[in-house]
């Protein structure tokens, strides 16, 4: 069991930042546990979602931002739908994931690689190219046989295109990423 000294280890800036970015009031959570009770992913989490909520309330930046749970939340919206105090818990998890990413954490490395590969495919082609996404994922993780069995059904059935899907305005899409990255680095 971890002991936290609240008088010395509570990061109030962290609480404020989470509240600001998620537009949610953290103090509304009274730890009923409904979010965790309905969370399909809790079996795979290192911290159940209600504990993530509690640790944010007591300003535990490092412990929260470095947990695996943030990278395993699928935004299925079960917690948000069932919170008796109408807290958008899934949005808080998403915002924590943004902060975790910005702080340089990637506690579920392969998940991050998959998401990044997806976005770089969109940035390049405007629409996601599933085959290209898988190729990038396999190269970056070194897991060259990922889902190779599924390809046997997909390719002959015309469900996995070897070439990216074309669109005219793909530059408009890559410009969205460019402006976003510029704004972030400024």
């Amino acid at each position: 069991m971890n002991t936290i000294r609240l008088n010395t280890a509570c990061d109030a800036d962290f609480i404020n930042q989470v509240e600001k970015e998620s537009e949610q009031d953290m103090s509304l959570c009274y730890q009923c546990g409904n979010c965790t009770a309905g969370c399909p992913y809790t079996t795979f989490y290192d911290l159940p979602v209600n504990q993530v909520m509690r640790l944010v309330q007591v300003g535990q930046r490092e412990q929260v931002l470095s947990c695996k749970s943030l990278w395993l939340c699928a935004s299925c919206e079960s917690c948000t739908t069932r919170c008796p105090n109408d807290i958008d818990v899934a949005r808080i998890m998403d915002v924590l994931r943004h902060m975790s990413r910005r702080a340089g954490h990637a506690t579920e490395r392969r998940v991050k690689i998959f998401w990044d590969a997806f976005l770089s495919s969109v940035e390049r082609h405007g629409r996601v190219h599933e085959m290209g996404l898988m190729a990038t994922y396999m190269t970056k993780t070194g897991r060259m046989f990922t889902d190779i069995d599924l390809g046997m059904h997909l390719i002959p059935n015309g469900k996995l295109s070897l070439k990216p899907h074309t669109m005219i305005g793909k530059k408009e899409v890559s410009e969205i990423f460019k402006r976003f990255n510029e704004e972030r680095s400024s």
Binding site: P40, E130, K159, I176
Partner: protein, 308 residues
Amino acid sequence: MSSSLSYAYYPGCSGQGTSIEYEQSSQAVCKALGITLQEIPDWSCCGSTPAHTVDHTLSAALSARNLGQAEGMIVNGVITPCPSCLTNLKTASHRMKDETFRAKTNALLEKPVNNTLPIMSVLQVIYEQVGPEKLKEKVVRPLTGMKLAPYYGCIMNRPPDVMDFDDCENPIAMDRLMEALGIEITPFPLKVECCGASYGVARKDIVMHLSGKLLDAAEDCGAEAMVTACPLCQMNLDLRQGQINSANKTNHAMPIFYYTQLIGMALGLDEADLGMKKLCVDPGKAFRKMEARKAEALEESVVRRSGN
């Protein structure tokens, strides 16, 4: 049906690939039901889950570009078959009602978006604008004798204040539409439970566990097939069913249909236009059981009549 059912159509990326049968059957069914789909010109990816895990403005901008492309079209709204696209388009539109957020999002876009069009799923339009009763009148090949578990997936109806359609814990739109085709809907307590979403690649164990649970539950409820409205749910349950069986030591051979494929079958549309052959688990089993049950019922009624 009036020609007023005209919508800006957002197919979504998976419709071009892994869920091509959903795309084909959605198009075919809408046409047969008098719903006009005008594809959004040069639409782009909504950013799906990966974008909103990075930043909410980036995610909104990727979605909003498409809402911008649809502005100026003479339509009743934007519709899409895919719940993941739907949730992104709707969340972007919902958040852009806030002026500061809209300005931040528009700053990432080439042309600013006014955000005035309503956004719905194809399912919502079929359910609300056509409805089970009118659909029933159009059925030429009833699917009586088929027993299905209806699986909606996690985000078609949640969170309720954004999705604003059907019940968030016990949705019934697909149940009613399937019943209109003559199908028997089994009770299914996991209607809105998550299938493991896009973790199939990076954390396959999660999908094996969650989708495995859905297949087990459907079978326990007496379902002989499942019906879905989501490309990712369908892919996890159908394409990954073999992986699930090996991982969990089960023997499921559960056909997983898109609801549009079954509507199309009942409307008498050509199987090829519904992409039936593109499903991974052989759907023939569900139809054979249906025919057997139909024959049985017919025999029973003949016996009963001759007995009287």
